[in-house]
């Protein structure tokens, strides 16, 4: 088509440069530095080309640059598929496309690339600021698309026009967002790199690994309770259970024998809540001890840890019930108990000696040994700190007898070691403890610095019993929070500090907004869509009925807009209507106005044919001409024109 061959004008080139900048700047932290610099150079080149109106670089040079860019991306990532390499390639293409803007067609291609890059941003972050930034980019991009077909308007009206069109697109977006039948991704495999940098608990625990998490205020998950939030000291969020120990590191069980239903019975009141879990790339789900139900598509390990069938790669929502007083594992399998007693052959002789003394005193009475261990831990006057000294060799001995300073993993590891050495089956449980209720929306927010490790001992007749050795030495960690437990002056994550009330208030509000965004915008998934439609009275909504409703509603909006478009189809300019009355009267005298005739020329001709009315014809035509073609029409002009024409009888 002739139109797409039109060369790109200078103003269009500026628009395209602005769009490319707006689309690629937010991605600068995600692509390698050399690419950012190269893209910057290409943009500057484009600016110089536009400014000086130089010739475009020859095509062979661009082909070479594309190859160079692709090779560069490949060398950087060793692949060109996947999230980050894909985005990097798009940036390469966009930068070079700017240097070959020959025809309107190239402008459209550039705009489409920019839309892709906006989508690319969302692979990395989908926060509210990202969304606002993306809105701005889409506005500029749309204005550029407008300029690609008509570059005459100034930037400001062009942006306003784009804004108007986007505003009209909003109802369609809302309808589609709510009603377009959602599918739960992924449709095909997702490259693993999506979760390379997510912080969270790992499946091993060695001294210092949880202390590292305490420096992060990233959110692990949120929980919304039906009814009262249980007391802080009961909020033990069970995560990976680690029964195997090699002298330094605790690990989760490699073979996961799994229950499809919980193998224990509830006792006392149940607690119901809903968890919104941030993606962490691992399989486990966090549940308040002890889980009474299992989320869909999940199972319970033999260590009572709920795990999902697929790694948690998206923010996930599930309802849960907990039995805080459940008795579990009274008839525990021998294999599990054997694993819970296993210790390395040697090491930590001092702790082993103490354990041997408990064993000698209490024999097989697990409960008594447990009590003795608790007493021993409290007598050691251990100090809970975020900055424990580095330990080497016999880490349990060094912690209990020499440094006496440690974080929760030291406490838990030492306690389980001592129990096992005394012949009591025990294991380390990692997870989160506590959380903070946001008074604005009532959600309990659990952050990475709430990560914790505690111990579980198996007592004959009572099953698995939770003991938190940290609570023995630092009860405030369990009863309030981290900040209350660590000595003053230790470095805490910004959000964990509790000294600034107004700051905390602000944080609560921000967090409530973020949570609402996560729950209703980002977390709008097939389940939430079904719930919403069911709430609106649709029984068993499926994709067919959704599509039907969607079509009807979109059609309705379109109809409304079409009516708006055709609304003034019969509205004729009143001045023109009056002029038509005037010409109709003259036509009866045989003086026919031709539509191509200007009013003044017609008046002259008509005056010649009807000299008696020359004056009034001239006056009417002059007034009409001034109204139609003159500067600003004056008030009362129309009334005067109508009066003059009404009084005109040729």
């Amino acid at each position: 088509m002739a139109r797409t061959n039109r060369p790109v004008s200078q103003r269009q080139a500026w628009w395209l440069l602005a769009t490319a900048l707006a689309a690629s700047l937010p991605l600068a932290p995600q692509v390698p530095l050399w690419l950012s610099l190269a893209a910057g150079a290409a943009f500057s080149w484009r600016a110089a080309l536009t400014w000086r109106q130089w010739h475009l670089p020859p095509r062979w040079l661009l082909v070479l640059l594309v190859i160079a860019g692709t090779v560069g991306v490949f060398l950087q990532y060793r692949t060109i598929v996947g999230r980050t390499p894909g985005i990097a390639l798009l940036v390469v293409f966009l930068s070079l496309k700017l240097l070959e803007l020959r025809a309107a067609r190239d402008a459209v291609a550039t705009v489409l690339l920019c839309y892709f890059l906006v989508l690319g941003q969302f692979l990395f972050t989908q926060t509210i600021p990202t969304a606002l930034l993306a809105c701005l980019t889409v506005l500029i991009t749309t204005a550029t698309l407008l300029a690609a077909s008509d570059d005459r308007p100034q930037p400001q009206p062009q942006l306003r026009h784009a804004g108007l069109m986007l505003a009209q697109a909003l109802p369609f977006m809302l309808l589609l967002f709510l009603l377009f039948p959602r599918v739960q991704g992924p449709l095909w495999g997702i490259p693993q790199d999506r979760f390379s940098a997510v912080s969270g608990l790992s499946d091993t625990m060695s001294p210092g690994s949880i202390a590292l998490l305490s420096q992060s205020d990233a959110i692990a998950f949120r929980a919304k309770f039906q009814g009262e939030v249980p007391p802080q000291s009961q909020l033990y969020w069970r995560g990976p259970v680690m029964p195997s120990f090699d002298g330094r590191t605790w690990r989760v069980r490699q073979t996961l024998g799994a229950y499809a239903e919980v193998p224990y019975d509830g006792l006392g009141a149940a607690v119901d809540y809903e968890v919104t879990l941030e993606p962490h790339g691992k399989f486990w789900l966090f549940a308040l001890e002890l889980p009474a139900t299992l989320p869909p598509d999940s199972a319970l390990t033999s260590d009572y840890q709920p795990i999902a069938r697929q790694a948690v790669r998206n923010r996930m929502r599930y309802t849960q019930r907990a039995w805080p007083n459940a008795i579990a594992g009274v008839n525990e399998a021998q294999g599990v108990l054997r694993d819970a007693l296993a210790l390395p052959r040697d090491g930590n002789p001092r702790t082993r000696a103490v354990s041997a003394s408990w064993r000698a005193q209490h024999g097989n009475d697990g409960a008594a040994i447990l009590a003795a261990a608790e007493t021993f831990f409290s007598q050691q006057l251990l100090i809970y700190t975020l900055n424990p000294p580095l330990l080497g060799g016999d880490i349990v001995d060094e912690f209990l007898f020499d440094s006496k300073r440690g974080f929760c993993e030291h406490f838990a590891a030492a306690f389980v070691f001592a129990l096992r050495a005394a012949g009591v089956p025990a294991r380390v449980v990692a997870g989160y403890q506590g959380g903070e209720v946001n008074p604005v929306d009532g959600y309990l927010v659990v952050r990475q610095y709430d990560a914790h490790a505690w111990a579980e001992a198996w007592i004959a007749g009572r099953g698995w019993v939770r003991i938190d050795p940290t609570a023995i030495s630092a009860p405030s960690r369990i009863n309030s929070n981290l900040a209350a437990a660590v000595p003053a002056g230790e470095e805490l994550p910004f959000l964990a500090r509790s000294d600034l009330a107004w700051l905390r208030e602000l944080r609560y509000r921000l967090d409530a907004v973020t949570n609402g965004w996560n729950q209703w915008v980002l977390g709008y998934n097939p389940q939430r869509q079904r719930d919403l439609l069911a709430g609106l009275g649709m029984k068993e909504p499926d994709w067919r009925s959704m599509t039907a409703i969607l079509s009807v509603l979109c059609g309705g909006v379109m109809l409304g807009l079409t009516i708006w478009i055709l609304r003034n189809r019969l509205r004729v300019d009143p001045a023109f209507a009056a002029w038509r009355r005037f010409t109709a009267r003259l036509a009866r005298r045989g003086i026919v106005w031709q539509p191509w005739e200007g009013p003044l020329a017609f008046a002259q001709r008509a005056a010649g044919q009807a000299p008696r009315h020359a004056q009034s014809i001239g006056e009417i035509a002059a007034l009409y001409a001034r109204m139609r073609y003159g500067p600003a029409p004056q008030e009362g002009d129309l009334v005067r024109l109508k009066q003059m024409i009404a009084a005109f009888h040729p």
Binding site: M1, A2, R3, T4, R105, V108, A109, L112, Y115, F116, V118, L119, F122, L123, Q126, T130, A131, A134, V138, T142, L145, L146, A148, S149, D150, M165, L166, Q168, A169, L170, F172, M173, L176, F177, F180, R182, V183, Q184, G185, P186, L187, I190, N314, V521, L522, G523, Y524, N525, C554, M558, L561, T562, I565, L566, N568, R571, D573, F576, P595, W596
Partner: protein, 326 residues
């Protein structure tokens, strides 16, 4: 082969689309029934890009990705409406069409009338797709737009079907319509490049016209008029009075001479079109010389006269001359 088929399908569509037998009575209003809307190539690319983006958003469960795709899809729908609105209910009236010589370009004047309170932007009109005219029409404004077409044969040239289209504002959607206004252009025969000299009839001062000297007695000067031949400008007189008006020399002999441009005067070996061409050349020459002339065709006789009206009448007679009259 394929191109031919496409062309035939297109013609069938157009015939169906126009429905009214051309030419149409004025004014032609492009009602919503006769404005067609389809995506352009850019629009198809836009749609394909949205499809890929939707797949990406699904695969990575990007809620904002869904939102972006749906916003852009909404933008596409809005673009349909805006493009449609840019064209629909435009009123077209046939305007003036000046006669042309065959071989020239007939310019059909159209009066595009925007009765709306919003401007219409970037409307493209064409008869031949390679040669479009782009116009904007302000609110409540009419705009005269000439649409050219090569005039090949003498006679009345009816305005062919023309297309009016727009892809404004986003270039993603094309709205178009066809119209055949009731408008014809008079095409004069091409004046012959080589023609015999003006045929002075025997009763006129033929001999003196041949040598071109002394026969036309100079009788005075008058103000120059556009139709006056440049060689009759009294350059000397003009130079004398410096910045005065151009003056034309008047010759007393001019009105008295009898110049008959006669069909029958030409040899029988010359065919009809050639004859008409020569006659057209004579008319132009005689008119340029400011001579009074008469025209004799089989069944047509035009009394001697001079001036633009005589010229038009003569040329029209030639243009509409038909064989049957011979």
């Amino acid at each position: 082969m394929l191109g031919k088929l496409r062309h035939r399908l297109h013609e069938t569509f157009v015939r169906w689309a126009l429905r009214v037998r051309p030419p149409e009575p004025a004014p032609i209003i492009l009602t919503q029934r006769r404005v067609y809307v389809l995506p352009t190539r850019a629009g198809l690319a836009y749609g394909a890009a949205l499809g890929v983006m939707l797949l990406g958003a699904m695969n990575y469960n990007l809620s904002l990705g869904y939102a972006l795709v749906f916003l852009l899809a909404g933008l596409g729908i809005v673009a349909i409406l805006h493009t449609f609105r840019n064209l629909v209910l435009l009123s077209i009236r046939p305007g003036r069409c000046e006669p042309v010589f065959a071989g020239g370009r007939a310019q059909f004047g159209l009066l595009l009338e925007n009765r709306r309170s919003d401007a219409r932007t970037s409307l493209r009109l064409f008869i031949d797709e390679e040669d479009p005219i782009e116009v904007d029409i302000g609110p409540h404004t009419s705009r005269a737009t000439p649409l050219g077409v090569p005039a090949e044969k003498r006679g009345w040239l009816p305005m062919p079907r023309f297309t009016i289209e727009t892809t404004w504002p986003l270039g993603l959607i094309r709205a178009w319509s066809y119209a055949v206004p009731d408008l014809s252009c008079l095409v004069y025969p091409t004046p012959a490049a080589k023609a015999p000299p003006l045929p002075w009839s025997s009763d006129s001062a033929r001999g003196s016209a041949k040598d071109g000297r002394g026969a036309d007695d100079f009788s005075g000067l008058r103000k120059h008029q556009v139709a006056d031949a440049p060689r009759h400008v009294a350059w000397k007189a003009v130079a004398r009075q410096q910045d005065g008006p151009l003056l034309t020399k008047l010759f007393s002999g001019a009105a008295a001479q009898q110049l008959w441009l006669d069909w029958a005067a030409l040899p029988d070996t010359i065919d009809t079109e050639q004859r008409l061409s020569i006659l057209a050349r004579w008319i132009l020459d005689a008119d340029a010389a400011g001579l009074a002339w008469g025209l004799r065709l089989p069944a047509v006789r035009l009394a001697p006269d001079n001036g633009p009206a005589q010229r038009s009448a003569g040329l029209q007679a030639l243009a509409l001359f038909s064989h049957g009259a011979h």
